[in-house]
Structures are given as C-alpha cells and as structure tokens.
Symmetry: C2
Subunit: 287 residues, 2 copies
C-alpha cells in the first residue's frame, strides 16, 4: 500500500487469473443490507468468479467511489466486512483508489488476481454432456444475494477433473447463464423435477405471482456453479465422490446437451416442448 502500484510475485507453474466486479448502492445492495454485509458481498462476488475458473485468490485492488455525505461509521463497517472476508479466504488487498461521487451515491469496484493450475473455461462442453448445478436456485433477493458463500473448494475440485468440461458461476439465472456453456448447434434438455428450486424462490413466488420455477430459472445472484460433465462420467460414482467431499452441498443433474432441436433453446424432457424461461437478469448492455 502507498505506492503507485502494488508489486506481486506470481507463483511459478500456475496460470494467473484476473476478474473485476462492482458493488453499487441501489443496484447490488440497499439500506436493508448492513455495511458489513455489503463489504463482504463485494469480495464474494469476485471470489465467485475465481471459483468458477477453479482458481485460488491471492491479491486484490479496491476502487471506492463515495458521495461526500457518507458516514465514517458506515465506511468503517464496510471495510470491516471486506477485511473479515479477506481473512476468511486468505486474500490480501494490496492497493486501491478513492474518488468522489455526487451526494447519496456509493459504488466500489474490486479487481481480484488469483492462480489456477488448469483454469476451467465456459467453452469446452459437448453434445452429450450432462448439466449440473450446485446448491439451490432462485429467490436470492430475499437474502442469499449477500449471504452466499463462494464455491471455491468446489470449483477447484471440479477444475481438477477433466470430465468437467465447462463451468461458470450463476449470476444472471440459469435461463441466461446456461447459454454461455452451451455447445454450438445444441439445445439443452432439462429435467424440471431435478431443478433445485430454493425455499426462497417459493416464498418469493407467493408475493410476485410467478411460479417458483420461473424464479429458479430467471432470478439473478445465485452464485452457484453451473457445469457440464462428460456424459459417460456423469454417473453415480461421480456424484458419490462429490457427496463424500461436499456432504453439505446439494448437487443436481438438471439435464443434458442434445443435438440442436432449435439452437440455444431449452426442452422440457418430460413433454419434449420448449420451456418458456429463456431470459435471465438483463444488464444495461444493448441487445
């Protein structure tokens, strides 16, 4: 800290990975989230990206943008959340920048550097691969969007297995994110009975009028891993190894990639009909 750049010494023989994510008041958190939890969330959003590559985090730089009216107490609690989460995941903040925004505004951007032996990319899945997700999906706005644990151990476990061919972390809902690991000229045949619909998706559905399944498909910020496994390896043995190493983390085989019925669509395996949920959380990016 204190110099114009941080100096980091990369470990030999490992690939280096880098990711950046923002956390903005009114977008990624609001007044119902404590400053401590907001700080923790900024770190964990980035850690989830590292997890999705099968990596290990090492260093971070933090850019803060604050309105002049922000209280020192709030900032201290925000930093405490950052510090505690960095300690929990053996991560160092090595530099940063602070700048002003208009009153009432707060934003932050964290860039995280890490290493990975064999980074697992989003590309690499084939027709015939099974599709898996960790944990439960949907309704994260009720709490999980800040209370999640990034799946770092699980990501490394998967990246060490060549039968896991493609992986990402679910940030915009499987409806959208599944597109990113889908092989060319394929469709996804999904088993709705195996979609792990969370209790919070069910709770949320009682007030939104949507089906819990729609929340599981389309809600953002699940921060679970979505990955493709060679169809021949996606068997009871693979799942038993997972259960032995991660007994607390539900693993669901939600379907498989098949030759294109219509490119990029999702097919209900029980009816052979297209599923209606094809859009996840929409960012600002022009379509």
């Amino acid at each position: 800290m204190g110099d114009d750049c941080a100096v980091i010494t990369p470990a030999n023989g490992l690939k280096q990975i880098i990711t950046t994510d923002t956390l903005t008041y009114g977008i990624h958190f609001d007044a119902t989230v404590s400053a401590h939890d907001a700080g923790a969330k900024l770190i964990k959003r980035n850690l989830s990206d590292i997890a999705a590559m099968g990596g290990t985090p090492s260093h971070a730089v933090l850019a803060l943008l604050c309105g002049p009216d922000i209280s020192i107490d709030w900032l201290e609690a925000f930093f405490a959340g950052i510090r505690q989460t960095c300690e929990q995941f053996t991560l160092s903040i090595v530099g940063g920048d602070i700048s002003t925004l208009p009153a009432g505004q707060f934003s932050s951007a964290l860039t995280l550097v890490g290493t990975a032996k064999k980074p697992r990319l989003r590309s690499g899945a084939n027709v015939g691969d099974a599709i898996y997700v960790t944990g439960q999906l949907g309704g994260s706005i009720l709490k999980k969007h800040y209370a999640f644990l990034p799946r770092l151990d699980e990501g490394r476990w998967l990246a060490a297995r060549p039968e896991c061919r493609a992986m990402l972390d679910i940030t915009d809902g499987i409806a959208k994110d599944l597109q990113a690991i889908m092989p060319d000229n394929s469709s996804a045949q999904l088993d709705l009975k195996n979609i792990p619909v969370s209790k919070d998706a069910e709770t949320l559905a009682t007030s939104t009028g949507k089906e819990p399944m729609e929340h599981a498909f389309c809600d953002g910020e699940d921060y679970e891993l979505l990955f493709a496994v060679d169809g021949k390896a996606a068997n009871a043995d693979f799942e038993a190894q997972w259960q032995a190493d991660f007994p607390q983390v539900k693993l669901s085989k939600i379907g498989q990639f098949i030759e294109a019925v219509d490119t990029g669509i999702y097919i209900d395996s029980s009816t052979n009909e297209p599923l209606p949920w094809i859009h996840g959380y929409r960012h600002l990016v022009p379509e």
Copy 2:
C-alpha cells in the same frame, strides 16, 4: 473475454505490478471533454501509475457503471478512446464488468497489470538526495488533465538507474505528493526559480487570482514524474544523459532533501523561510 476471469501468463523473472484508478463524470471529466478523450484518460491515469514504478503495462480489466440514459454513440466513442490508447501502449483489455447507476451518472474503474524488473517505490530517498520533476506543473484543468502522455519510457529509464531512489507520478500536486517520497525526519529545500511553472498555470492564475507558483504546487493531475536522485549522482552528466534520451521532456532539479528543520515542511532556498503551499488536491479521505 467471456469467461468469469481472464487468464494471463506472467513473464518469468519479472515482478508483477497492479494498479487501479477510476474515472467519473463530474469528477475526472465533464461535458467539455469528448467521450474519446475520457476513455483515453481512464487508460492513461493507470498507465501513469505503471510509469511511476518503472513498469511496462500488459493486461487490464474494465468495470463500467452507467446510468440508463447514456447514449450508445457516447459509449462507442468512449470505447474507441480506450481501444486506441490500448493499441498505442500495447495493452490488452482482458475482461470486465458492466453495471447500472442512476440516470445521469457515469463511472468507470480500470485495473492494470504490468511487469517491472525492479519496481521503483515511493520510499527509498535519503537526506542529501536531489529532487527532480519532469515536464511542466500546474493549470492542468485547462487541458493537460486528459491530454497528457504517461511517462512510461522515462519511468523505465529512471527505474533502471539505482541512483534514482524513489519515484511517483504527480496526481495531487507537488505540495502534497512530495510528502510521499520525503525521507523521515527531513525537510525539502526548494529552489523556486527552478520550479517548471507551466503556461497554463500562468493563464489560469489570471482568472483565479492565485499566483502561478501556487497552481504549480497545488493543482492536481499533472501526471509528471517526481523523483529523488542520490545527491552525488545528480549532476550535469545525469542531466545530459536525460537530455540525450528525452530531448523533448524538460527535466528540472527543484531542490533537495535536508535534515529536518521542521519535519515535512518545504523551505525556500533563497530566503530560508517555509513555503506556504503545503496542501495539494484533497480527496475524500478523512484527515
């Protein structure tokens, strides 16, 4: 691009350096600066930090925060400024994140990774060292704050010379930034006649009522290098080598570090009196 993290392969035998800087509408640029120049400035702000360590940039990740009302034309010109500057400095954007802000707001954060053989830090200066600056100081608000060229070649040249003991880029004015390379228990004895007061500092002074020298000391965003050189090596030979390699870039020996008269203050060498300019640009950071 497209994966959760970018994968970069560090060069062997070099130290890796990392820096982050933001660019916010209303703070770092306004409607008088073109979108193209704003994009270029975001890159150059970070490049100036790399220059100050004597490094070479390699990879960047970009976080964008935009209000929903931003025009596609503006964003395209902003990206064109980024792209052109990256090409100019042989730098790749390898990842990023986009997120929303309230209407009318725009901010961005760039994190830049680079390498350096022997990163030159801010610490390392001693009593007896000469103090140098590159270029001209003050009045950058008129144009230079976005039209500057980061001193990458000059930074590497200096970092390769052990007689250059400490270095930084001037972002908050020498009044403030000189503190950061000042040895413990020292004062800086400055030769006002050698301070390179820019024409823009003089122009600005006609409308602010301040002296041009105050602008040279206290204005932000000069993006020049400020460095300490071993007093014995800070001679005509050193300066002639500089002129041979950088004939276009003015080099000024502005003073030296002396045993503390009063710790951290600046002394006018012609009168032996303390100078009044001791604060540069003040950030939000609590004092």
